[in-house]
Amino acid sequence: MNTQAQGTRFVDRLGRVYGLYTLGFLAFFALMAIIEQFGVGARTIGVLFLLFTLAIYATIGWLSRTMQVDAYYVAGREVPSLYNGMATAADWMSGASFVALAGGIYFGGYPYLGFVIGWTGGYVLVNALMAPYLRKFGCYTVPDFIGTRYGGNLARFCAVFVLVVASFTYVTAQINATGTIAARALSIPFEVGVWFGLLGILLCSMLGGMRGVTWTQVAQYIVLIIAYLVPLVWMSNEQGFGIIPHFGYGEAAQRIAQLEAEYGLQPAAEAVAGLKVLTTAHFDPQTSLDSWKFVTLALAMMAGTASLPHILMRYFTTPSVRQARKSVGWSLFFIFLLYFSAPALATLTKLQLLDPTLATAVVGKAVEDVMALEWVKNWSAVGMLSVVDQSGDGIVQLNEFFMRPDIVVLATPEIAGLPYVISGLVAAGGMAAAMSTADGLLLAIANALSHDLYYKIIDPQADTRRRLIVARVLLVGIGALAAAVASLKLTGILGAVAWAFCFAGSGLFFPLVLGIWWKRANREGAIAGMIAGFLAGSIYLWWTYTSGETWFSLDHLRFSIIGMPVSLVAMVVVSLMTPEPDAETQAMVDETRIPTGDSILAETH
C-alpha cells in the first residue's frame, strides 16, 4: 500500500516534477554545448547524451516499481489526460517516425505523404469509435475486451494471436533501431547494441509495468520533441525562414519544384546498392494511380492505428471516460507537433542540398569539392552516402548524389554545419522514440499473454504475486526473443512497421468496432472476422511479397485493404447466420455506451 500512497502524491506533483526534468535536460544540453567549446570530442558527447538519458529512464522505472495488479496493468488508472497524451505520443512515435519519416518524405514525395495523413487521421477513429468505450469497459488488455464482449476462450485466444503477430513484427523493428543508434554512439557492434538497447527498455518496464512505462514515456516524449525541433528551428533560422518555419516554407517547396524541373528527375545511370537518388517530385502527384496509392495507404494506416493494442491500452489508464477522450485529443496534438515538422525538415534539407545559390549545396558543384566535405566523408565511410561522377563531367548531378533515406534526420545537423552537440541530441531523441515504442509493444504482448492466456485461460486460480511474476518473466523472454530476431536484420525499419498496422487492421479492426457499434455482433461472427481477415491479409502479403505481383497496385505495405473487407463480410455474414447474443451481453453493450456507472469489468480482475 505504501507504493500506492507514493503514487498518489506523485500524480499530484506531476507539473513540478516534469517541469524540473525539462529544465534539467536543457541544462544538460547547455553543459554539453559548453564542453564542446572546450574541445571535448564528438564521441564523448554522444556517449554522455545516451548514458544520461538512459540513467533518468532507469531511475523512473525503479521508482515506479509495483506489486499491484492494477498498477502493473493500467498504471492504477490515475494518469491525467495531458500526461497520457504525452505518453501516447511517445508510445506512438517510433524510431521510424523520428528517424525515417522526414527521409521518406524527402525521397518519396506525394505517395509517401500518405503515411503522414494515415498516422494522424487514425486518431479521429480512435476517439470516435474506440477509446471512450473501451475505457468504460474497464479492461486490462485489448483481448480482455474481445474475450468479455463476445465470451469464450476461443475469441480471446484469436485476439491474443493477432495482437502478438502485429506487435512482435513492430517491436523487432524498434529494437533494431535502438541497436543501430546505440552501436553508432557507443562504437560497439550492432549485435551488441541490440542487447544494450533491450536492457534499457527492460529497465523502464520490468519493475513498474504500465506505471513505469507511462512515466518514462512522458520523459521520453519531452526528449524526443526537443531533439526534433531544435535542429529544425536552428537550420530554418540560418536559412532565413524564421524560428517557426512551418507556415513559411511554402516558397522553399515551390523553389524545389522549380529546381527539379531544371535538373530533371532521372534515375541514376548505375544504381548503388542500398542507396537512392531523388527521382520523385517533391509534391505533385503524377497520375490518378498516385491518388489511389495515397488513399489506400492512408486507410491501411488509419485502421491499423485504431486497432493496435499498445495504443488502445494507453486509454485504459485514465481516471474517467471523459479524461480518456480528452487524452486522445492531447495525444494527437503532441503527435502533430512532430508530424507537421517532418515535411518542413525534409523540404529545408532538400533545398540546402539542391539550391546552387546556397553555400551548403552539393548538386551542381565540382565533384572533388563535394567529396572533400567533412559530412560527406563521414557518411560515405559507413556506406550510407555516395557521390559518383557517372557522367564524367566533374560536376555532381542530381542523379549522382546517392543517400540512404534513413540518414536525412541524423545527417541534417552536419549538412547544415551545426555543432556536434546537436547530433548528440538527435541521437538521444531517436533512442527515446524507439525505446518508448518498444516498451509499449513489449508490455502489450507480455500483458496479453500473462493476463489473457495465462490467467484467464490456463490458470484462473493464480494469485496476484504469481500473475505478476509470470508477467515479468514473459516480458524478459519476449524481449530477448525480439532482440535475437532483430539482430538478424530481416527487414528494413519501415516495411516491418507498415506490416504491423496491416496485421492489426485485418484481424482486429472490425471485431473491436462492431463489438461496440453493432449489438447483433456475436461470438461466432467475431471469431470468423478475426480468422478470415487475418488469414486473407497474410496470404495476400505472402503472395505479393514473393511473386512481386499485385491486385489493383496494392503492395505489401497496404495488405489490410484486402484483409479488412474480408474480415467485415465474414463477421457480418456469420453473425447473421447464428443466434443473436443473449440479453446479458446486449445489456453490457448498452452499459458500455454511457459514461456513468460502474465499469463492466471490476476495478481489479
Partner: protein, 87 residues
C-alpha cells in the same frame, strides 16, 4: 445511483451516433477526398504553398486535431443533457 432508463439510453445513443457520423464524414473529406484531388488543388495557393500540398502536410492534420476537440465538446454536452456525464 439511479438506474438509467432505456428511453434515455436510446436518445443518448441516437445523438452520440449522429455526432459520430458527422465527424467521420468530415474526417473522410479531409483524409481522403482532399488528398485525392491534391493535383487539382495545387493550382491554387495558400500561405505560399500549393493548396493540395498544404492540406496533406498541415491543413488536414490541424483539422484532425480540431475534429477530436469539437467532438469531445459536443459529446460532453450530450452526456450532460441526458444525465449520464461523470462527475
Amino acid at each position: 445511483m439511479a438506474e438509467v432508463s432505456s428511453e434515455t439510453r436510446q436518445a443518448h445513443w441516437r445523438k452520440t451516433s449522429t455526432l459520430t457520423y458527422v465527424i467521420l464524414a468530415l474526417w473522410f473529406l479531409f483524409g481522403y477526398v482532399v488528398p485525392w484531388f491534391a493535383k487539382e488543388l495545387d493550382a491554387a495557393s495558400f500561405l505560399g504553398f500549393p493548396l493540395g500540398y498544404y492540406f496533406i502536410v498541415q491543413g488536414s492534420l490541424i483539422i484532425f486535431v480540431l475534429l477530436i476537440v469539437v467532438q469531445n465538446i459536443f459529446q460532453d454536452n450530450i452526456d450532460e443533457e441526458h444525465g449520464v456525464a461523470e462527475e
